[in-house]
C-alpha cells in the first residue's frame, strides 16, 4: 500500500516522532529554528523540513520578526485529532469503562 503524504493531514504530520517533539516544544512559546534545532539535537535543515510539513497542515504558524522567523504552535490544526479522540464514542467508552471498574469494586466490597 502506498504511504500517505506526510502533508496530507494532521494525522500523517504527527505520525513522525520528531515533529511531535517539535510541537510539544512550541507549546506556549514561539521559537526560532536554531532554538528548536538545539533543543532537539538536530541540524537546522532537518528542522526546517519538519516545520514546512507542520505548516502545510496548519499545525505551526510563522511570525516574521525583523530578520528572524519565529515559529509557533497553531493548536487549531489539531482539531481533527481532538475530534477523533474526543467524540461521542470515546466519551462513552471511557465512561462505561469507569462504570465497569466501579461496579466491580462495589461487588468486591460486598463480598468482604
Amino acid at each position: 500500500m502506498a504511504r500517505a503524504r506526510t502533508t496530507a493531514d494532521a494525522f500523517n504530520a504527527i505520525a513522525e516522532p520528531h515533529r511531535r517533539e517539535i510541537l510539544t516544544f512550541l507549546k506556549g512559546r514561539e521559537r526560532v529554528v536554531s532554538d528548536i534545532a538545539d533543543a532537539m539535537g538536530m541540524n537546522q535543515p532537518a528542522v526546517s523540513k519538519h516545520l514546512r510539513v507542520l505548516r502545510e497542515v496548519g499545525l505551526v504558524y510563522v511570525h516574521p520578526e525583523g530578520k528572524q522567523r519565529r515559529y509557533g504552535l497553531d493548536a487549531r490544526g489539531l482539531e481533527p485529532v481532538h475530534g477523533w479522540t474526543g467524540g461521542f464514542e470515546e466519551y462513552w467508552s471511557e465512561s462505561l469503562e469507569r462504570l465497569n471498574t466501579y461496579v466491580r469494586k462495589r461487588q468486591r466490597e460486598e463480598e468482604r
Binding site: R20, G77, E89, E90
Partner: protein, 156 residues
C-alpha cells in the same frame, strides 16, 4: 424503540459489557454518589447542583475537564423502568435548543450486563457534530503530550 432497531442518521450508539449483575449496574445510574464516581471520560469530575431521580426529575451538574475547562450539563429523566430502561434528555440547560434524547438499555447476560446507549439528535448535523466533539472538547492547546503518547501508541 429497542436496542435492535436500525440506527437512523440522527442517532449514535455505543454498548459495553459491564461485569456485574444488572441491579447493581442499574443502581449506579440512580444516585449522585454512584454517578459521580464514573460519569464522564477519564480525568473528568462532576459537581452536582440539583438531583432528583424520577420521571420529570432533573440532574443539573458541571463537568470539570482535566485541563480545567467546565462544561454545564442538564439532564431530565423522561422514563425510568428499573432495571431495564432509562430515557433522558440531555443538554447544557433546560432551554438548550440542541438537547438530545438518550436511551440506556440494561440487558442481563451470563457474564454480566450489557449497557446499550442510543442517542438521538434533532438533526443529522447535530449528530455528526456530537460524533466528533461531544464531551471532551478540550481547547486546542491542552494535552499535546498525552495526545502524542496516544497517537504513538496507536501507530506503533
Amino acid at each position: 424503540m429497542t436496542p435492535d432497531t436500525a440506527l437512523s442518521d440522527r442517532e449514535l450508539m455505543v454498548s459495553r459489557l459491564i461485569e456485574g449483575p444488572r441491579d447493581v449496574v442499574f443502581e449506579a445510574f440512580t444516585e449522585v454518589q454512584h454517578l459521580s464516581r464514573w460519569w464522564g471520560p477519564k480525568g473528568f469530575t462532576t459537581t452536582t447542583r440539583t438531583f432528583e431521580f424520577s420521571e420529570g426529575g432533573v440532574w443539573e451538574f458541571t463537568m470539570h475537564g482535566p485541563d480545567g475547562s467546565d462544561y454545564p450539563n442538564w439532564i431530565q429523566w423522561m422514563e425510568i423502568r428499573a432495571p431495564e430502561v432509562i430515557v433522558l434528555r440531555h443538554g447544557e440547560g433546560p432551554d438548550d435548543p440542541d438537547q438530545f434524547s438518550s436511551t440506556f438499555f440494561f440487558e442481563e447476560r451470563t457474564d454480566g450486563s450489557r449497557v446499550i446507549l442510543r442517542s438521538e439528535f434533532k438533526t443529522k448535523e447535530l449528530r455528526d457534530r456530537a460524533a466528533q466533539e461531544y464531551g471532551a472538547i478540550e481547547g486546542g492547546n491542552q494535552t499535546l503530550d498525552s495526545l502524542a503518547t496516544y497517537v504513538t501508541g496507536r501507530l506503533e
